[in-house]
Symmetry: C2
Subunit: 474 residues, 2 copies
């Protein structure tokens, strides 16, 4: 890994390609009012939740159906102009930035739940459906879609980044829960991958190749997902700990004992203070675990008892239980508001978020050393994590007007990633590579594996128009 001084990823490489007037004219002819070149619209589509900036795309096409996407991609291909798919804009690593120029395809109007197969526990949706919308629309069937990355992300965006979040410890990630896709390829053709069968050995796993490809291999226009019966019983609890180490060691033991916990989230004392200030929650200002149990009433009781015993062995106290949806919502407010509470705690700041994930046995080593380093740095931060999966996020709150703070934060991130990789982990558990982790990806996967990715990209997108400049330089 390069020395921290060579943090090339601090400033994304901007290499704008020409977007000819003839393309804009052709898009306007094809899409009418659904193609916008208004600066406000372009600006809105040229950024995400990352701390990077780039010039906005030259135009935004609002797609209403697969054919719209295919036609927009075909026109872009004719002019060798980049295409960036856009869901709700909640990605975190610069995925949506038009670093090589080009056009944005907004998929928010493709927001239909196309079919619900309750008997098979599958659902097929358009990419603009958000996870909350999906759960609202399937609620009456007694089923739910568990993947919850925090933001009310679009299913298309979650597919593109291989998202996961709080429930992944029990239900898996988008990798495990996408059964099949419809994809518009770089040539503007439409292909289908996968079937509704639960398993298949029919050729290369194009579904999983597309999941997590960050828009660089095609635009996903339809997604078939696994869904789950709403658990018979749900119980949630918060538990405070005398130290972050005690909370982490409790988590490790829960997982190693095989407790099928549905959620186990760490919230550090900084985050607790921030959400107390933001939402007046009156939480005890100590590190805490937020847990949820799903199952039969007897199963949930058994899990809860086991966990309470483990927590108590580590000095956990002040267990607060919530079994009604309203009580649970109150508890989860702390977790879901942590990002916004943090941003408000330092007005004008930007958040640099880390995303390492390590094997559970390495979690304490990875997390505790990084906490000590970050405390010593003086950079304000909060720490939350899907610790049951070995995944956690520091959010460094930097003042964008003080360049040294960014350098300091990036150095902390760099050291954290180095530590995670040395512990057989990954630089990104769920956010994706985008612009920010391209160097880390090479260190993690090796130049040979990244070359293989690049070779696939070149073969499937010879004009390099699909969200170029993300995951690896090209």
């Amino acid at each position: 890994m390069n020395a921290p001084a060579d943090l090339a990823h601090l400033t994304p490489e901007i290499a704008l390609r020409d977007v000819p007037e003839a393309l804009i004219a052709a898009l306007k002819a094809r899409f009418g009012a659904n193609c916008s070149t208004a600066m406000a619209v372009r600006t809105q589509h040229g950024r995400d939740e990352s701390s990077f900036d780039a010039p906005p795309p030259a135009a935004v096409v609002f797609a209403e159906c697969t054919q719209d996407v295919a036609d927009a991609v075909k026109l872009a291909s004719d002019f060798s102009v980049p295409v960036i798919p856009f869901g709700v804009g909640s990605s975190l690593e610069g995925h949506l930035l038009a670093v090589q120029g080009g056009i944005s395809i907004d998929l928010q109007r493709m927001n239909q739940v196309l079919s619900i197969n309750a008997d098979d526990l599958t659902v097929t949706v358009q990419p603009g459906v958000t996870r909350k919308q999906l759960n609202e629309e399937i609620k009456s069937t007694g089923l739910f879609f568990p993947i919850d990355p925090g933001a009310d992300a679009s299913i298309g965006g979650m597919t593109a980044t291989r998202a996961s979040g709080t429930n992944a410890v029990r239900y898996g990630t988008m990798r495990e829960n996408v059964l099949g896709l419809e994809v518009v390829t770089a040539s503007g053709d439409v292909i289908r991958t996968g079937t509704r069968a639960k398993k298949s050995s029919a050729g290369y796993d194009l579904t999983r190749l597309m999941v997590g490809s960050e828009g660089t291999l095609g635009v996903v226009t339809e997604i078939t997902l696994r869904i789950y019966p709403l658990p018979e019983a749900v119980s949630a609890a918060i538990c405070s700990f005398p130290s972050i180490e005690a909370a982490v060691r409790t988590t490790i033991q829960i997982i190693q004992l095989g407790v099928p916990i549905a959620r186990v989230e760490l919230i550090d004392v900084n985050a607790v203070r921030m959400v107390n200030a933001y939402a007046k929650l009156g939480l005890r200002e100590e590190p805490m675990l937020l847990m949820e149990f799903h199952g039969s009433p007897a199963g949930v009781k058994e899990q809860a008892e086991t966990v309470q015993e483990i927590a108590s062995d580590h000095g956990g106290n002040a267990f607060e239980w919530a079994s009604t949806p309203e009580e649970r919502t109150r508890l989860w407010t702390a977790r879901h508001n942590s990002y916004f509470a943090a941003v408000q705690s330092r007005p004008g700041c930007r958040v640099i978020s880390t995303d390492t994930c390590v094997p559970i046995s390495r979690l304490a080593d990875c997390l505790l050393e990084s906490v000590a380093e970050t405390d010593a740095s003086g950079i304000p931060y909060f720490l939350v994590g899907h610790v049951g999966d070995g995944n956690f996020h520091f959010g460094y709150l930097i003042d964008p007007n003080i360049p040294e703070e960014r350098v300091k934060a990036e150095k902390l991130n760099h050291d954290l990633v180095s530590r995670a990789l040395s512990l057989e982990g990954t630089c990104t558990g769920e956010h994706g590579v985008g612009l920010h982790k391209m160097d880390f990806l090479i260190t993690e996967a090796g130049a040979g594996a990244v070359d293989m990715m690049r070779t696939i990209k070149r073969a499937l997108d010879p004009k390099n128009i699909m969200n170029p400049g993300k995951i690896f330089s090209l």
Copy 2:
């Protein structure tokens, strides 16, 4: 789909490429006695459990380490000669046949369990380790590897075909259980994919691209797998049914109610008769389900009660329970011997095995119509299936000296696949495409998706030396 008269896949296309003497000499110089050109060795490596024949490979290299594999591939690449990885030879679709000539790389000597990480529930193995060997070696840790395709296949082979089998209904397939790989690429370079972290969003999912690629993109030389705690309680049962429909409808209801059953296998009356004749089991000669439950003692009891009630609603009777390992082994003998019992039931026959998999709600439609068709055809057969996943196998027992029987069996398979695809299923749940299902793959995935696979193959293996002529024509 073509008319059944055009069954091009009845006779695999043999298009032998030149294997220069200079390559054989170079292999002998590099590998000494570990490179064999003895006809007996070549013949043994030129076939699998499929009903196809092709000329044997020109030589067999017995690899003892990754470097051996890399060197063999590099030499083959220098001469543009095909390379076919060989595990234990248990594949079913002609995967191992040297239809374009070339050399075989035997991986059976790479049979070390390299590391066991009990705390993280992961294990790293060489490709020649078989699933039974792996379970023997990790038994003392209280952990097990659940994937059981029937044969004592090598982990490398199971990775290459995306295998699954009896436990997949609860534990998933190789797709879900391979965390990372070491792979020798077509150029003889060594890359690594994945990490030991439970999840990652670090670039393209090369792990899942390799899993199920049937040796066409590289040779897998190391596999990191998920393993599981041995369940606290295990209970198995067989239950006979008045009709195959009753057994199928029982299965559907078990799955739709979300019972976390570990195994639910259908054995039709033909298979029961065959195993009775073969192993003198004295089983009631009716269709039966063979089931296994894993969990806490209370959980297993709860599952068993639920299932018994469902079965009884469908006329299931003669429930026979087994809780000790010895009793369970006796019950599972019926399932595991069915293939050999069937072969013995018609001396000299060859088995053409089907492998469709459909969404669980479509299982009755798909299976029952095909049973009626097969009964009417007069071809001897047996039917077994991982019905909890919607996956089942007809084994047509054909006399290889009566060509019409093969045509008849292939027509039955063709009609079954057409039915499964019309019900949103797949032509292969777990065996892979190999030579046998190339036409079906095009119908299932569409020409566009197969073209995408072909484009990836051409990009990663420009000389087309990695197990060429499998999955798709090239």
